[in-house]
């Protein structure tokens, strides 16, 4: 399970430490630069060839540098207050069709994943970012909407509830004592 997310080499002892392995939400790319896959389908007469080709990540050049020793996730270590109107940041966490990427891919902590996911939904509702598809640029998001949805809205980020802590001690509910 960990092999897929964390790629480590024997020369780097840090990756072998149990503490960093248990922290499975972070991606440690120590051996090779990130290679993403591209699925190519080619059709020859009655043959259909599907192959996965490795290519360099498109974000290789524009990726922000950060301290490798930091334990924090990508958003926490930025230490910037992100709002739902920051569409250039939020669009990095969605697929082309506008779906939010799951946590195993974004590598964020629970709190930030919840916050970013909610803010993507807010930006969608405010009509600032519906999807990354090129045909989405041409249409006005407000034109297709009805009733109260066709007018402009904005949101307050402080209304986002933090996720429940799964490791929090369970509250002991006292039994009803009738006697």
């Amino acid at each position: 399970m960990f092999g897929r997310i964390i790629s480590f080499s024997a020369s780097n002892l840090k990756a072998l430490l149990p503490a960093s392995i248990s922290r499975c939400t972070r991606q440690l790319h120590i051996t090779a630069p990130v290679a993403v896959k591209q699925i190519i389908e080619t059709r020859k007469d009655k043959q259909l060839i599907i192959e996965g080709v490795y290519m360099n990540s498109p974000r290789e050049e524009t990726l922000l540098r950060h301290n490798e020793d930091s334990d924090a996730c990508a958003v926490c270590r930025l230490n910037v207050e992100i709002k739902h109107t920051d569409v250039l940041i939020l669009s990095q966490f969605i697929r082309k069709d506008g779906c939010m990427l799951p946590r195993r891919i974004t590598g964020l902590c629970r709190l930030q994943q919840r916050r970013i996911g909610n803010m993507v939904a807010m930006a969608n509702k405010a009509g600032l970012m519906t999807s990354l598809l090129p045909r989405a640029r041409e249409r006005d998001p407000y034109k297709r909407r009805k009733e109260h949805l066709k007018f402009k809205v904005y949101y307050d980020e402080s209304t986002i509830k933090p996720p429940k802590d799964p490791f929090a001690p369970r509250k002991l509910v006292p039994k009803d004592n009738w006697f």
């Binding site: 790319h29 524009t62 990508a74 066709k150």
Partner: protein
């Protein structure tokens, strides 16, 4: 009175015309700001007995923004005076019928209910979009600063700008981009 003093007097009591762009502005927040200029409260010579309010031209009132669910939750009450004549109109319904009405009511509510209020309201000029008649636009000499940041849509940026913006996360190894 000297000639200079007379010109000073004219300049002091002349009505100034202000422009307010309501795009992405909350009408309930910006109502008091507009009302301040209508009543003349921003002037050091203000006195309730001297009528020194200014004109305000509000444009793009159809593009006002309300927070969260307020388009559905905000309700405007009206009573015809006859039995059973009460009506409650939701904000989005009112905005659908007249895109200047929500802004107008917000400014009206922001002012005290004195005899002067109706006269102050006459100096408020509301326009649903950017098309303002020239005889009004040529008077405007000042713009009121918008209270709220106007958020650009993702589609306002070119694809190159989006690509060159610093990325904070990278895709994991073996990820298939789609």
């Amino acid at each position: 009175m000297t000639a200079l003093g007379r010109v000073k007097q004219w300049n002091t009591f002349a009505r100034t015309w202000h422009l307010f762009d309501a795009k992405w502005q909350n009408p309930i927040e910006s109502g008091p700001t507009v009302a301040k200029y209508l009543q003349g409260l921003h002037k050091p010579i203000f006195h309730p007995m001297s009528e020194c309010g200014d004109h305000v031209v509000v444009i793009n009132t159809k593009d006002i923004a309300l927070p969260g669910d307020e388009w559905r939750l905000r309700v405007y009450f009206h009573h015809t005076g006859y039995p059973g004549g009460a009506s409650w109109t939701k904000a989005w319904e009112l905005h659908d019928k007249d895109p200047t009405m929500v802004m107008k009511k917000a400014v009206y509510i922001a002012m005290d209910g004195t005899l002067q209020r109706r006269y102050n309201m006459l100096r408020l000029h509301l326009f649903a979009d950017e098309r303002v008649p020239d005889e009004i636009m040529q008077n405007v000499t000042n713009q009121i600063k918008p209270l709220r940041y106007v958020p650009p849509s993702l589609y306002d940026y070119s694809e190159e700008e989006i690509e060159k913006f610093p990325k904070i996360v990278d895709y994991p190894h073996d990820y298939v981009i789609r």
